[in-house]
């Protein structure tokens, strides 16, 4: 969308919903202009974007900037609890929120596959616009490319996010401290299982609905109440187990969590049992893990419980200390039988088992 503002589109016919994306929609000509104006500007309209300059020019910010980027390639594009558009906003905003940043601006890059229906694109863009508005962020610049049919998968979206970190806030793995308690913000695995079951046409009893949600609101509330958060991590790909494993390695620290305290909904448990997947490794899009001093756990939980997105937050474990040998297991799960098992990074993604 970084086009010469003096150029005026001259295509007389509006884009019909039953049309499909053609290579020409990315070709820099009138069709591309029409796409930009009728779909993207129409939905995302704000003064930074509407200027249509080569770059968005943003006001100076008061504080340190946090910047992050993520690409979204989910299939199916629409799933229970969200779609690729809402996900592309939530995912990037949440990465900013995990640093304590207040999200302000997003970019939006679209890679569209030739043959995609305009109607589907409109639905995704409209969902993205609504989600951004709900989250109080502006989509200030963007880009569109069209690839040959078969060289993409309907829509890929990249969003880059810019946020501002308040002066007093310092959140990150460098602040992890032995004795820190570990809080998880809600039940695990719903997003991954909702998308998987939708994609594969698997029917499970109970509702599998993605947990995709923005997390910056609840984090801001915690910071406003001066809860001394040491570290935050959103539990996306690889789930809780991978996030803890990565943070423990960064220390290095040992961590212990209690299996019986980890919230997992019945539908997710059931679906994971059938497929032989471990919910601790399944992706989430609206869940995070938080580390903080033990004396602040109660206050943090009472604030978390006031937000719909974290109403089931619970303390699940703690950081032990530094490992006594270089090869000691870092993250240990205490089972409900008092035995222990190790949580480590998986080799790749989990694969459903045979029987």
């Amino acid at each position: 969308m970084s086009q010469n503002p003096s150029f005026q589109p001259q295509c007389p016919l509006p884009l019909a919903s039953d049309e499909t994306i053609r290579l020409a929609h990315g070709g820099g000509g009138r069709l591309m202009q029409q796409l930009i104006h009728e779909i993207f500007l129409e939905a995302f309209s704000n003064s930074y974007l509407n200027a249509l300059q080569d770059s968005a020019v943003l006001p100076a910010q008061d504080g340190r900037l946090a910047m992050t980027t993520d690409s979204y390639v989910v299939q199916p594009l629409f799933f229970p609890g969200g779609d690729i558009g809402s996900l592309a906003v939530h995912g990037t905003i949440n990465d900013l929120a995990m640093m304590g940043a207040s999200p302000r601006y997003l970019s939006a890059g679209f890679i569209l596959e030739e043959g995609l229906s305009i109607d589907m694109l409109k639905q995704v863009v409209s969902s993205m616009a609504k989600t951004a508005q709900d989250c109080g962020v502006h989509i200030v610049c963007g880009d569109t490319k069209v690839v040959d049919r078969g060289k993409g998968d309907q829509i890929f979206i990249n969003t880059t996010g810019l946020g501002v970190i308040p002066q007093s806030v310092d959140i990150g793995p460098h602040r992890l401290t032995p004795g820190d308690r570990i809080i998880v913000s809600g039940d695990l695995g719903a997003h991954g299982m909702a998308v998987l079951s939708q994609r594969e046409g698997l029917e499970f009893s109970g509702n599998l609905i993605s947990d995709s949600a923005p997390l910056h609101g609840v984090i801001a509330d915690l910071l406003n109440h001066h809860v001394p958060i040491h570290c935050l991590r959103d539990l996306t790909r690889g789930g809780l187990a991978s996030a803890l494993s990565e943070l423990a390695t960064a220390g290095p620290f040992t961590m212990t969590i209690e299996e019986s305290r980890i919230p997992i909904s019945e539908p997710v448990r059931g679906a994971c049992e059938i497929l032989g997947l471990d919910p601790l490794y399944v992706a989430n899009e609206g869940r995070f893990v938080m580390f903080l001093p033990p004396e602040d756990v109660d206050e943090a939980l009472s604030i978390l419980h006031q937000h719909a997105v974290s109403k089931e937050a619970v303390a699940i474990g703690e950081i032990g200390g530094t490992p006594s040998t270089p090869t000691q297991a870092l993250v240990t799960l205490q089972t409900r039988y008092g035995t222990h098992r190790i949580l480590d990074l998986l080799s790749g993604e989990q694969l459903p088992r045979i029987c």
Partner: protein, 370 residues
């Protein structure tokens, strides 16, 4: 969750653990046949709830692990063919063949698809009449009925583009092969609950009698497994050896007769090579002659290079001894160092039901627990 929570109840588990301790007077070596049981044992640390004299060894009941390497190579060859859609259960995709695995073939452009039921492959065949669909039929008696149903459906629908690479294996002949080995250490078995759900357990009675070994049909949850162990230990201590059924909520003595009929209609027993173990007579399933039109090996005969000789697996890989229960994964010199899920030397490190993968995931020996 009903039928799950009561079989994971920690009080019941603790009580069983104490009860096993009370009845155990001698050291005993018990094998759980099924990889699903191995996984449960290692995941929940159940072996650590047993008295020190009781040794659990992990049997060959992981279909992924025992599928011979030449069949994996054939699968990769077929998956590379431009007209072929190759359908497989997820956990076969990472199993190493001689040079590559199915995930690599997929990355290089092969159309490899994960299915959740063999019937998915029938749907894919109907939706893609111009392509040739090959399904990798892997599994024990548990998955054989669904596989047979898919073949019967393909026959009814007169599908000309549906083929099966059969790698089905049978449990009882493998148990007999282990018991008749001069190196055998197994004194009692936890038989595989899911297999017995289909096949029943009357065929174990002659084995139990002939080798004087207790066999207890056992489920997969912590309470099931400890109850199964307790029943085996009780028999061993009493000097009895019969077949008992711990998994009665799922298994009947004669099994699921309808499912057995479907298997018998489509398949017949055949000699089968088990990776790491060797050839065991009548331990596999092959298509009945009436269904030979679905046989991928026949249909694609000219596209498959003849690797009749089993390529030797990595000389360091001890998977054969591990699958026979002669050593534990953590006793292998390569375990966790030169053999990991990222770079598996043998199949038990790949499959979620493989003993090596279970040990690596839940208790790597090169690291120590708390």
């Amino acid at each position: 969750m009903k039928y799950l929570d009561e079989f994971r109840d920690s009080n019941t588990v603790q009580k069983l653990s104490v009860a096993i301790g009370q009845i155990t007077r001698h050291p005993w070596t018990i094998m759980e046949v099924c990889g699903g049981q191995t996984h449960s044992i290692v995941r929940y640390g159940l072996d650590r709830l047993l008295p020190p004299g009781i040794t659990l060894i992990h049997g060959p009941g992981c279909p992924v692990c025992v599928t011979p390497i030449e069949l994996i190579d054939t699968a990769c060859e077929l998956a590379k063919l431009p007209d072929v859609i190759f359908c497989s259960f997820g956990d076969m995709l990472r199993v190493p063949g001689t040079h590559e695995d199915l995930l690599k073939v997929k990355a290089q452009g092969g159309d490899v698809r994960i299915i959740y039921s063999p019937l998915d492959a029938v749907a894919i065949a109907r939706a893609n009449p111009s392509r040739q669909i090959v399904i990798f039929a892997v599994g024990f008696e548990t998955t054989a009925p669904a596989q047979a149903m898919a073949i019967l459906q393909a026959q009814q629908l007169k599908l000309q583009n549906f083929f099966v690479l059969v790698a089905h294996v049978l449990v009882p002949p493998a148990m007999e092969a282990l018991l008749s080995s001069p190196e055998n250490r197994v004194q009692g078995f936890l038989a595989a609950g899911h297999v017995c759900t289909i096949m029943g357990y009357d065929m174990y009675e002659p084995i139990s009698q002939k080798y004087q070994v207790p066999i207890v049909v056992t489920g997969f949850e912590p309470v099931d497994i400890l109850e199964g162990v307790k029943m085996v230990v009780q028999q061993l201590e009493d000097g009895r050896s019969i077949v008992e059924n711990q998994y009665a909520r799922s298994v009947h003595r004669s099994g699921n007769v309808e499912a057995q009929k479907v298997i018998d209609e489509v398949f017949e027993p055949s000699s089968r090579h088990w990776r790491g173990i060797g050839t065991i007579p009548n331990s596999g399933l092959a298509l009945q002659p009436a269904f030979s039109q679905f046989d991928a090996l026949q249909h694609f005969h000219d596209c498959i290079s003849q690797t009749a000789v089993t390529p030797s697996p990595s000389s360091e890989c001890e998977s054969g001894r591990i699958l026979q229960g002669l050593m534990k994964p953590s006793d292998c010199a390569a375990f966790g160092t030169r053999c990991t899920p990222d770079h598996p030397l043998g199949a038990p490190m790949v499959s979620s039901e493989g003993a090596c993968a279970a040990y690596f995931r839940y208790r790597p020996s090169k690291v120590t627990g708390p």
